[in-house]
Symmetry: C2
């Protein structure tokens, strides 16, 4: 019985870290349990220790302990024994490179498919898709592959951003970028706006949060789906 929360962002404008998600996380992770936090994405280059401390503080209020994966001597064993896993945001290229370097991709796939509760935010959500090829991040380092966990049978675009009205900037809009992705890739892409998340329970995938999401399928016009839409058949 799989159990994942795949969130667009950790933080909503004008709120604290993970604040908007805490009521949901209280049901997702068991009170009194210890979460294994994967800090590899290092947003703004902060250290694994600093990042873990920030996460630890946020989870205190719902009585969940946090231990950084970098604190374990055997990361693979830590994942296998984890009561829950949280992969934080930052740079997806760095995150994926580290996951491969520590040979963790298969292990995480297995335990999450076997029921270990998983939370991903931003980069940690990107890797829940089939590939990381719809990340917004800068390719600051070269991972050995763009293939990721495939917990959902499509790709994720977190921090989905609508075109800015009246912009004179000539760089591509997000929608243009995803359309370019579809000129050479066939899997759908779910554009998750900040404040949305996907709740995966076994094989059911539901859009949660207050916002619509934007769905991109190859060869179709993009379309909006409302909160509580069941996306289990999207593939």
């Amino acid at each position: 019985m799989r159990n994942l929360i795949i969130a667009s962002t950790s933080t909503i404008y004008n709120q604290g870290y993970l604040e908007y998600l805490l009521p949901t996380l209280q049901n997702h992770f068991k009170a009194g349990s210890t979460l294994v936090f994967i800090p590899y994405a290092r947003p703004s280059g902060i250290s694994h220790d600093e990042y873990t401390a920030k996460v630890r503080e946020a989870f205190q209020s719902i009585d969940v302990q946090v231990k950084g994966l970098h604190e374990f001597n055997d990361p693979k064993q830590a994942i296998q024994e984890a009561a829950g896993i949280f992969t934080g945001g930052g740079n997806t290229f760095l995150l994926v490179k580290q996951l491969y370097a520590h040979d963790l991709v298969q292990t995480i796939t297995e335990v999450v498919n076997n029921g270990t509760p998983y939370l991903g935010c931003s980069a940690g959500s990107n890797i829940c898709g089939l590939t990381m090829e719809t990340t917004n991040d800068m390719p600051i380092t070269y991972p050995p592959s763009f293939k990721t966990f495939g917990f959902v049978p499509f790709n994720i675009n977190p921090h989905y951003l609508d075109p800015i009205e009246g912009s004179t900037h000539m760089g591509e809009t997000r929608e243009t970028r995803i359309n370019e992705f579809h000129t050479i890739n066939s899997q759908p892409v779910v554009g998750l706006r900040e404040g949305s998340w996907l709740k995966v329970s076994s094989d059911r995938i539901i859009l949660e949060g207050a916002l619509h999401a934007r769905i991109f399928e190859q060869g179709k016009a993009a379309y909006e789906v409302a909160p509580n839409t069941d996306l289990s058949d999207l593939k």
Copy 2:
């Protein structure tokens, strides 16, 4: 004697394709000559033929002929014999993958270092840096390496974008992304605003166009440089 124009963008808001650059290109490429155009980056997924036709039309007014690299039976020979080379914008990942697939990286490096006039716009400028690791593009495909031509001893960030005042979006600003790059890479990054270009003549690198550029060096605060600044010593 190297001779390159490394432009942030092909197109300025409210202008035609390459329009702002045409007076400069008239001196850069010889009237009556034939330019080899590299269409691999395929912006918005347009075909190589469509993309080449667009470029051909733009160069007509300055009496330069254009032939797409995909029209030659032997692309390597085409590059070796080219009177000039233009690599257009689009997706940098796709462009770099195709350059490696056609085994063209070394050949282009050699002819440009030996004096074949080169023009790059956007993705075609990214590849003039040491690596493509400061591109803004979505990683829609997996190239065999992020290493690029290194015609300048730093990286390029084209379409450089200042933070949008009052934005409530929680995704990283461009500056944050480049700072993340510098947590694991040491080469400087030149943020070229739309309308700026670098003019490389032999070993001299000059910022041209009407706008300031933003320079990022590892361990230093970012700083602005004015048009006509000599960047030859930046490395």
